[in-house]
Symmetry: C3
Subunit: 364 residues, 3 copies
């Protein structure tokens, strides 16, 4: 259960730098590589000749050459050439709309006719030199919605991430959740508290005292299909918190792109875009290291939660106040998936009607 007529992050550019990348996305086995002008390309990972995965091949002058018998594919999924063989009649394989933007490769796994680059998210921080971004990727065996739940309810930090970003005050301050259109926002503001270890490190990274009371904020924003951007940070207390002047705070965005591999597994692209000391590469590395450890703590929980849910299909989970972010996000997703299904049904009914009309016409 996921939208297919939408853009998902497929990979980062470094993953296709040396050779083609085979990756299953929304159930589709896809090969990603760079074509003739260096543009990204995405094809069905299935050579029409004998079914070999094209991702085991190599790219020669922008053509994807099958690693088994040398069939050359074009970026449009049509065979271009093969040694000693005419390829004109070869069946084409599927080509997926794909765009490189904001430091990521994006793929549209659904109906190519509907793909529109204008629907790609705009990420202001991505191309702004005042921001620095670092991150990584985890493969996690869980429904992508469990990861959305996780990110839209940060009360778990107190328990799962007790030694880094968790703190008692998260439990004490309720979050508020709202939905506007397709965007769900869950916010929590904590005042005059001690910064937890991760944020002390960040304060020091911004040359600020780490042993004074701070205001801390978490503003989680879900955008369909599965992007969760979280404004996070701490400011020295009394300077306005989230609104404080840059000189008094360490502010960043937790960047989460969750791409379904199957119904119960994901490619989870995580990272942090920070709005301070963007030139400090050692700081970028420290933050990436910290996030890598923190987000790794969620994996066992999410995967065993998934196993438990699959083993107890009859059980209904609770939807508490703290779950509002995930619950409302799922509601948005249900609406989108239902609309996709309705559009598909209408399209095939239209085709059927045309076919009937055609048949009647023919019968005259």
């Amino acid at each position: 259960m996921f939208p297919k007529n939408t853009w998902y992050v497929a990979c980062t550019p470094d993953e296709i730098a040396a050779k083609p990348l085979g990756r299953r996305i929304c159930g589709e086995a896809i090969v990603f590589y760079r074509g003739e002008q260096g543009q990204v390309a995405a094809l069905e990972d299935f050579c029409p000749h004998r079914g070999a995965p094209l991702s085991l091949g190599r790219v020669v002058e922008g053509k994807l050459v099958c690693g088994y018998h040398g069939l050359e594919m074009g970026c449009d999924g049509k065979a271009i050439a093969m040694p000693n063989q005419r390829v004109r009649g070869f069946p084409a394989i599927r080509a997926y709309p794909v765009v490189e933007r904001h430091g990521f490769v994006w793929v549209w796994p659904g109906d190519a006719a509907l793909a529109d680059p204008a629907k790609l998210p705009s990420l202001a921080w991505a191309d702004d030199p005042e921001w620095a971004h670092g991150g990584g990727m985890y493969h996690v065996k869980c429904d992508y919605r469990l990861m959305i739940d996780n990110l839209m309810d940060l009360s778990h930090e107190t328990y799962v991430h007790a030694s880094s970003i968790g703190q008692k005050e998260i439990d004490d301050v309720p979050a508020t959740t709202t939905t506007e259109g397709d965007v769900v926002t869950t916010s929590r503001f904590m005042h005059n508290i001690d910064a937890p270890p991760f944020w002390r490190m960040a304060l020091r990274g911004n040359h600020l005292a780490d042993d004074v009371p701070v205001d801390r904020w978490q503003i989680c924003r879900f955008h369909p299909p599965s992007h969760v951007m979280i404004d996070v940070g701490v400011a020295h207390a009394g300077h306005g918190g989230f609104e404080a002047d840059a000189a008094h705070k360490a502010a960043a965005i937790v960047v989460d792109f969750i791409t379904p591999e199957t119904e119960t597994s994901i490619w989870y692209f995580w990272g942090m875009a920070r709005h301070f000391q963007p030139q400090d590469e050692a700081l970028t590395a420290s933050i990436r290291e910290g996030q890598h450890k923190i987000f790794g703590e969620d994996l066992e929980m999410l995967e065993s939660q998934q196993r438990n849910i699959l083993a107890h299909p009859e059980r209904r989970l609770l939807k508490l106040n703290i779950d509002a972010g995930g619950v409302q996000s799922r509601r948005v997703l249900e609406r989108i998936v239902a609309a996709e299904a309705a559009a598909a049904a209408a399209a095939s009914a239209g085709v059927a009607a045309e076919a009937t009309a055609g048949a009647s016409a023919g019968a005259r």
Copy 2:
């Protein structure tokens, strides 16, 4: 196919000393831990909030705290508290009857209303300072009845355990098997033979000569659901064998508790209670080490036997004289499982009758 209204060994106390233990027993995913007064508790391993395994949580002042969002469970399966949240309406999870006795934690995976600590086996050696006990546990991928067969027919020792407890004479002396009520006994007595290596070690451990002829005995007792206690030992020949005075023998009980995990896997708790030199801890360690190796030799055989049987469902196995112990034990188990099924059917018929009566009454 196993009784559920009965006590099984779930774990040993050391397994719940540091943190909660998640273990599947008779198909039920259960978390074991110690409650407020230090008493053992057993709950369904499923947080009613979002399905996280409670066994990933921790115990705080006797309350089991979910490791995901901090829900606190009581030993009765009812939620006690959760940060910023009223829990009164939360659905309860299942609590399993559980008792700590004789150095083990026992669980009743069936109908809690029928659980009765008086039905726990009495193990005279367990709390007697004249006896010493040591043991361990193996996870084995086989039907629990294959392990019962194994332990109720020790003729396999000659082949599987040739270098430790096996000897030719086991094959030469037939065993006799009887059933009294639910208890099946298979006995074998060998006279004036050489002791095999394991028993030489035991004789030396009891400060007895290990190079003189001995009488050896094996008295296997099956108690449902799956406990096999085996009187074993050797006495210097001519002093009465099993009945010999303690000064002339090394006598012990092989202790086996076999707990089904699924239909084709078990938690196998093995050990030895010995009735000599109980204070000699080095001897306890030597014996445990020897048993660990010996019982490990059975694993490959049992697991590949299980795979073979699953692959050939049409084949009927033979029931020879040497198999009488296992065959009669299975007969006891079939009777118990049939009685459980009949009682369950009667109970649900009773409920249906009541419901009908109620409906008729209501219709008047």
Copy 3:
């Protein structure tokens, strides 16, 4: 889908030298060992007593002794003895026709009544001191026909084995394929080319210059059920190529026996019989080493091709000119399998007719 009334390579003699070997062949779990006179024996790997795999047992004076309770099996699948037990009434297990020849153990997994050693392939090189043979075995998770395709179309060498036996000229020269009876032959002859690295090594091994132009040949012969013998070699250019005098060439046969384990996995016995310097054991080792590496390069391709095909059952693969060898081999196999099925149907119809006749007779 594979013939069963035929001989397959089961193992090499060294695999049964120290202990019995359990191996699944065409879906049948079989144990191989040496009987009383040292002759090979093959039985169902299932002890009729309690289902233990006999391959976990040991051979004592030519009798296979079950490792669980000591049942002794004869090479005909009949129990011979068991401690303290009469075995006359024991059900027999299946014995498979098995022959040791040409340095391999061959098994007939189908109807034993049809097994005929005269149908074993004759391998002239196997017992000729002018030839030397070395090889090895791979377990590969693919349909055996994918491996036949691979070996009957060496155009893949250019892509999969680029650094050893592949070269551009393979693509430039088309192969020709013919079928005579059940034997399919695909040949390619290249003239006046550079020898690739593997063949330079072979030329040096035959004390010939490796830096002069050569003629190279590949003559692949498929024999059912799944033997592919490939005449390969290089000769100094202009001496007649494949027909050149031994003094000017390095000539060998790539020996491939492909034995189905299941419908989608195989035991792949590969090797090379060479017709030069047969006494040079270091050369045999070098060639084996080279082949081991080269054939290992095919594994990832074949296994991922298999996964891709299973994931896309609706897709039809192409049958190009280069695929003619595999396509024609599959046609031979289809004919053989259909004939087997027809014979089996006729046989069971005959049995039914007899049974009916018998019943009528009995009714009189």
